[in-house]
């Protein structure tokens, strides 16, 4: 009991050090007023304002990146879902020899190192001439890269569609559409939402492909942040960008966690 208590307090301390402090600093830096720089002799910024936020949000470079990122994400998510549904149906509902191997193979995009995929997928797309639109090339690459998540979630959802519900609906004379609505959709819905959301979040965060395939003229929030951490480093601007990248995703992730819990309890607890 006392040991647990001590461990608990220690962990809360570490938790503060490992979360509150870094984010606290970032928030403070994002609030530094441009007129008076935050010099090391001050513990807190001498002047505070939302100027940095206003400047960044008014900056057309960021606006383009935001637009790109938030258009890219739903596009990639829809593409992924389209590609996923038939395969997830097969993996979830048709027993066949080698199904486990097929399931393993769907994980391939996650095993190949991100920058290897980024560089040589770029080479491949160049080769087959699919580079006319950076946007579509990046969206398609994201769809490919995040297929494993969607296939995994939705094949479990398909498994959970209950045959007795389908049979009962048929027995009661339901049309295929009515059967889909009453037996399939309720079981699939949380999985569909979760898969959409996970690809959405991953796409917003993805850096390697956006950086290699998109550069130099197609920017997303991560590539913009990368640039601002490198050659154009201005600490307060980087702080603002970091928070812009993190905040929406934290909220989306919390929603996702709830969805996953209902779609597939074993996934959210990290099992299997």
């Amino acid at each position: 009991m006392t040991l647990n208590r001590a461990l608990f307090v220690a962990l809360l301390l570490i938790g503060t050090l490992w979360l509150a402090l870094p984010f606290g600093m970032a928030i403070l830096w994002s609030l530094v007023d441009a007129s008076t720089p935050w010099t090391p002799d001050h513990i807190l910024p001498p002047a505070i304002s939302l100027d940095r936020w206003r400047n960044m949000l008014g900056n057309p470079v960021l606006q383009v990146a935001l637009l790109n990122s938030y258009l890219l994400a739903p596009t990639a998510a829809l593409m992924t879902l389209t590609l996923t549904l038939p395969t997830a149906y097969a993996l979830g509902r048709i027993p066949f020899r080698g199904r486990e191997i097929a399931r393993m193979l769907t994980l391939l995009p996650l095993v190949v190192p991100g920058f290897v995929t980024a560089i040589f997928l770029t080479a491949l797309l160049h080769r087959i001439g699919f580079t006319g639109s950076r946007f579509w090339a990046v969206a398609f690459s994201h769809a490919l890269l995040f297929l494993p998540y969607a296939i995994r979630i939705l094949s479990v959802s398909f498994e959970q569609v209950r045959q007795d519900h389908i049979d009962a609906a048929r027995d009661l004379g339901a049309s295929p559409l009515a059967r889909f609505r009453v037996a399939w959709l309720p079981a699939l819905k949380p999985g569909l939402l979760a898969a959409f959301l996970i690809v959405f979040i991953q796409s917003i965060e993805e850096f390697a492909i956006a950086f290699i395939l998109g550069s130099p003229d197609f920017t997303t929030i991560p590539t913009l942040l990368y640039a601002r951490l490198g050659q154009d480093f201005v600490r307060p601007d980087a702080a603002v960008l970091s928070l812009i990248l993190v905040l929406p995703n934290v909220i989306l992730m919390l929603i996702l966690e709830q969805l996953l819990r209902s779609a597939n309890p074993s996934l959210s607890s990290g099992k299997g």
Binding site: N4, F8, L11, L12, G15, W18, L19, L21, P22, F23, M25, A26, W29, T39, P40, L83, T84, P86, T87, Y89, A90, L91, I94, A102, L105, T106, L108, P109, V111, V112, P113, F115, V116, T117, I119, F120, L121, A123, L124, L144, L147, P148, I151, F207, I212, P222, L225, Y226, L229, A239, S242, L245, V246, N249, V250, M253, S269, G270, K271, G272
Partner: protein
Amino acid sequence: MSTRAHPVWPKLRLLALLASGLGVILVLIGAVAWIALAQSFGLHNPMGEDRLTLDHWEKMLDRRLYLRAVGYSLWLGFAAALISVALAYPLAIWLRRPFRGSALVSAVLQAPLLVHGLVAAFLFVNIIAYHGLVNQLMVALGVWAEPRQLQNDRNAWGVLILQVWKNLPFALLVLSGSVRAIGDDILDAARDLGAGAFARFRRVILPLSLSALQAALTIVFIGALADYSFQVIAGPTNAQSLAQLMVFSRARSWHEAAVVGVTLMVLSLLGAALIAVLSRALRLRGVL
């Protein structure tokens, strides 16, 4: 069923269904691997003529930069995997059964999962900067006479800290799932039969969560082996990671980048295989 009369139709239907997702994955990831391999041997030259050759491999294998990157990335991969798992394992066991506050501890520990790698790197650099919090604290406490250069430290402690910060929650997630799946009865039975805390870990928890341990080690290893962002922002300036070298080489020669890319894939596979062999050995010999 009408399809039963034509045994070939269900098979075709299955293949058609699998083609959309699995097919796309196999073709494109296969192509990625193939292009990397082919380019590393001089084929698929985007700039000029194809020529099958070992030149690019010979040139790279001779270069100290390449060899150092291999060693450095391997070291980072294994160190990150071992440290993350070594810290996550006891936490997973501690958090196996819920107690007051355990949800909060889990949430705090797993929060970095929600934080982008680049943001994490920025947050970290921000704290260890020349006028950052750590330096100010050490100077204020009188431990250091003047601020020190902590960013991009030569021993890559910064990268390692970031890797652990980002990967520990993941290892914790994977290990918790499998540690929690072990029933209370099983552990109570072991105790009742006379097994103390260490015996219970060695003979019950470890063997029953070995596959999760293997998965956690493998995934963290591959992630850290192929790291680019942490290395570029917080890593030592005198060493390059393989991913960094690959991006850097591409500007000069696709073929050299391909050699590094293939190296990365091969090392990932070898690392995963090594971890698999070790856990298999543990399963067969060490445990029982």
